[in-house]
Symmetry: C2
Subunit: 555 residues, 2 copies
């Protein structure tokens, strides 16, 4: 354990910018400003790690420092296992985290292997070295609540109260995303430090520890159509049922506790928080039992609220799956956020486009923000987001930004960024990557691929092809993970990160990767029969050998 | 359904030899000489297919015919789903077959998806277009029995009787592999046509349908130390228990019925063969139930034989796994063939190296055989194999050959082959590939990665990295499959095929792929702590950042 901080500036420590970027982003994931528990190498999402252990971290750093420009480093669950000679145009790093043969793909077995030091849980951007703090998820959350506001409340959350749980690495984005949409948020969180942290970074407005007070504040603000976010200290499995029995029904209810992990994530009710923490170590079996019970109670309260008129949706943490296991037969009565709000965007190849300034200078991000606003003035939601982000989002670690871009837009943005580096408009290369949660990169039947039109939810050929395509296209590094937000057994997904280094070669790489990566989203959704994806493929020239025909009345 | 045959000769139908090779090898997989049930697109191993359906086959052919030299075709479970622009040096085809999110990875769910037309079982070389008929497996089987003979019988099977089951696509290699090692084989097979087919291709010497006659013939031959292979018409689950109760104990017992697939593979006992076939369609549940029972009986008979002194081993068809499910608690008392005989080879990076002559001219294979014998005179077992193969193995489909080569040898052989093409010593390019069963390409806890020294049997990061490395190294096509010989849920594996087209670029591709692909085997086994792999890495310069130290007294 030691504090880690990414090098800044325009001086290379490695033999090239692709390795250098990997090195800086690995370190950035563990920056105390960015990661959740850097001393344990945990970046976010329960136990999502950047390296298997500190010895592996050191070996990764050394490997990257020495890696030649025609070599490729192989990383197996956070451990550097080999270096092979490839080509200058090939990826510099290839990463596989937490993958298990399906019949052995359970948390129990994973934990056994983890205890033996053989495997690591990489979440999505933790083990793939492109976590950029809570801003990363803030933008996705902003998009989701904006889409929800459009669908249910005429475009704004003003005067509407949202109840949610969890202010962790990803869930901590919710209060600000809601107030950015002019809404009122009550965020239930069991860990006082997490609440304090969100206050410190201005993602959250106030902390209270009394339910009645929280409700009163929320109602008052909603009546005045004033945005406010309230951090309520408590356990969801206690607070939400209490709300129900008090007759308090929010307008929107969702959750981002780490329900995907019943041992190291979700905190059971009926026991003080610090006792729960020690029970976790002392008697993990009993802990899991209590956590599973609590999740069932928690999920039932959400169902009750929905019954009474709240808009309920699952925010990708597998709470419904866990509750179903515990006998809540109707757990899946409320939809996942993807089919409800995100899939229409996926059919356009829209997805997370994030970048970081390797210079370390926040001004470089301002330059890129403005370049995008200029290039895509018609994308008003994106423009509004970029303006608000610049005004309200504090950088964590290396200055970074994210917005959602579609097929045809991402490669255009990549070229613009490479030109900015070439011209010296920014002080060092930019690194462009994304979450694994994208249109063509993930198979996750309880989240990204829930309720696919053709029933192909569980088919995982797609993320495999995505990883292979990004490798063939020359991304700087490519990753393939099992697990992630919904936990072991429930998802497979791929990611890519590519450096815009201002060279001609950099332009080819960045535009090729950023064209082919979202093309997988168009291909995947067209193959599943989504009319809009078929249309986009035809309009924008994505080659699909057996192009399906559109069917009337379908999305 | 129509007869398919690969084009021959030195004239391109596609825009380049990489596409052309993919096209020819796809067609070759369905050549009536090569595949098991070409009309149903089934190549081997139960339902291992080359394309999802005939419409997909036609679209694959068309896509390959038109594919540009900087494009990459994406194949999802036997269907061409997209074409993206990459680079001339990138793979021309990327393939993912039968992959499922782990929690959904069961045969039942797979069959549901298959019935909806969404997925295809690709086995290993069926869906990756590099099946070369039974010769492919003949060589591996030869190596296995040779290793067994060395370990247990002083180097020869002369005078020893082996009992095995299954004369299908892969199992059909057993009789010839055993007689090539001078042994006596009784091969129990329920389908008369399969036996006839092996007689026709000279893999099998005689067919009998009476157990007593088979045993008498076998005993006589063994006494005279004469090799002979006997195809015995019958069901293993009846014949083997009968052998036991007769007091007949062979020297060696194993099995290659398609036990991995309890519906479309294994044939239950206690019912005539043709009735079993119609039961399969009429009442699949009942069929499965009977098949599972039979497998338990079959496995118990093998255990009994072992108890009485036979050398028993599992030949990679998951019979033990199925029997365990049916209550045979000691099913895993006999070892898999990999830990018993193959792993020591894997630690040298040894594995299947196969090639086909795209000219269609068998003389091209003679030329390559001799080139290898000249280049590796010290590899006496290989030399002996190549001589016997040339004399006794009938080509099926495109002329092809296989031998096992280690790290450092495969890339050398690749260069030799590319030079032969360049010089015009062969009449058209050669295509070099392999089975997915290789040293660094598979995670399969009941077969290739059974009983790994560090307990990492089920970790699947390795095949993922292998697929990514082969893509980054510029293989002509790369595939990643779920299932294969041990069935859905039990294995993940990767394959590559690369064309030696006689150009400088071809030399770079072939040598890079054939160096990095087996390097994964050295890396994987060194990481697991095998002394020999660590040694090989050090001797032959495989870069391993956290090189483990050797421990005394371990393999
Ligand atoms: N878009 C998405 O797909 C998406 C986005 C965000 C989060 N998620 C999922 O949401 C979950 C949260 O992610 P994270 O990174 O914030 O995890 P995290 O572990 O960093 O934070 C979880 C938080 O929940 C709190 N918590 C746990 N149990 C609680 C309980 N019973 N009551 C109140 N608070 C409780 C914890 O104290 C912690 O602060 C994960 O499962 C993640 O995968 C998915
Ligand atoms: N090296 C390896 O890893 C390896 C090698 C060869 C085969 N295998 C495995 O072995 C199995 C066989 O492969 P294949 O390609 O030959 O399959 P296949 O389906 O082509 O042939 C199986 C044969 O077994 C026969 N059979 C089925 N049930 C029987 C029974 N009860 N008694 C007698 N005969 C029976 C069938 O009629 C058929 O001819 C597969 O599970 C395969 O994956 C593994």
């Amino acid at each position: 354990p030691r504090p880690v901080r990414a090098p800044r500036g325009n001086t290379l420590h490695c033999n090239g910018w692709h390795q250098e970027a990997a090195l800086r982003m690995l370190c950035n994931n563990l920056d105390p400003e960015t990661g959740e528990k850097p001393d344990e190498l945990i970046v976010y999402g329960g136990t999502g790690k950047a390296a298997r252990n500190w010895a592996c971290f050191d070996a990764l750093v050394l490997s990257l420092l020495n890696l030649e420009n025609d070599e490729t480093l192989l990383v197996q669950s956070g451990k550097p296992v080999g270096i092979v000679k490839t080509y200058p145009t090939a990826p510099r790093v290839l990463i596989a985290n937490a993958n298990l043969v399906p019949a052995w793909a359970t948390w129990d077995y994973f934990h056994e292997l983890e205890a033996k030091g053989l495997i690591m849980f990489g979440q999505m951007t933790a083990g793939s070295w492109i976590y950029i703090g809570t801003q990363g998820i803030l933008q996705g959350t902003y998009e989701t609540f904006a889409a929800l506001a459009e669908k249910h409340f005429g475009g704004s959350l003003a005067g509407k109260i949202t109840v949610t749980g969890g202010l962790g690495g990803m869930g901590g984005a919710q209060p600000l995303a809601i107030t950015m949409n002019d809404g009122v948020a009550i965020c239930v969180e069991v860990d006082r430090q997490r609440i304090q942290r969100r206050l410190d970074t201005r993602y959250l407005d106030v902390m209270v520890d009394d339910l009645n007070q929280a409700i009163a504040m929320a109602r008052q603000a909603a009546a005045a159509k004033k945005p406010i976010s309230i951090g309520l200290l408590g356990n969801c499995a206690e607070v939400l049922p209490e709300m129900v029995s008090m007759g308090f029904v929010p307008d929107v209810v969702t959750d981002q506790t780490s329900a995907h992990d019943e041992l190291n994530g979700y905190v059971p009710a009926g026991i003080p928080y610090d006792e729960a923490l020690s029970l976790r170590k002392k008697d993990p079996k009993r802990y899991i039992d209590m956590a599973m019970d609590s999740m069932a109670v928690h999920c039932r309260a959400i169902l009750d609220m929905m019954q009474r008129g709240a808009v309920a949706f699952d925010y990708g943490n597998n709470l419904r799956g866990q509750a179903l296991k515990r006998g809540v037969h109707n757990a899946f009565d409320f939809p996942g956020f993807v089919p409800a709000y995100i899939r229409p965007l996926f059919c356009e190849g829209e997805g997370p486009f994030r970048w970081a300034a390797l210079s370390g200078d926040p001004q470089d991000i301002v330059v890129t923000d403005h370049a995008l606003m200029e290039a895509f003035p018609e994308k008003t939601r994106m423009v509004r987001w970029l303006q608000m982000a610049e005004a309200r989002v504090a950088h964590m670690g290396l200055p970074a930004r994210i917005c959602w871009l579609g097929y045809g837009e991402r490669d255009k943005a990549g070229k613009i960024f490479n030109d900015l580096v070439r011209k010296g408009a920014v002080k060092a290369p930019l690194v462009i990557g994304r979450d694994h949660l994208d249109c063509g990169s993930v198979a996750s039947p309880n989240r990204e691929t829930e309720a696919m039109r053709d029933g192909s939810d569980a088919i995982a050929d797609w993320p495999v092809l995505n990883a292979l395509v990004n490798t063939a296209s020359g991304a700087s590094w490519v990753s393939f993970h099992h697990g992630g937000g919904v936990g072991i057994g429930y998802a497979l997904h791929a990611g890519q990160v590519t450096v815009a280094d201002g060279t001609d070669e950099g332009e080819v790489r960045v535009t090729t990767v950023l064209r082919n990566d979202p093309a997988m989203g168009i291909i995947r959704h067209a193959d599943a029969g989504y009319n809009r994806a078929i249309e986009v493929a035809q309009e924008r020239g994505v080659k699909i050998p057996m192009m399906p025909s559109q069917e009337k009345g379908r999305p």
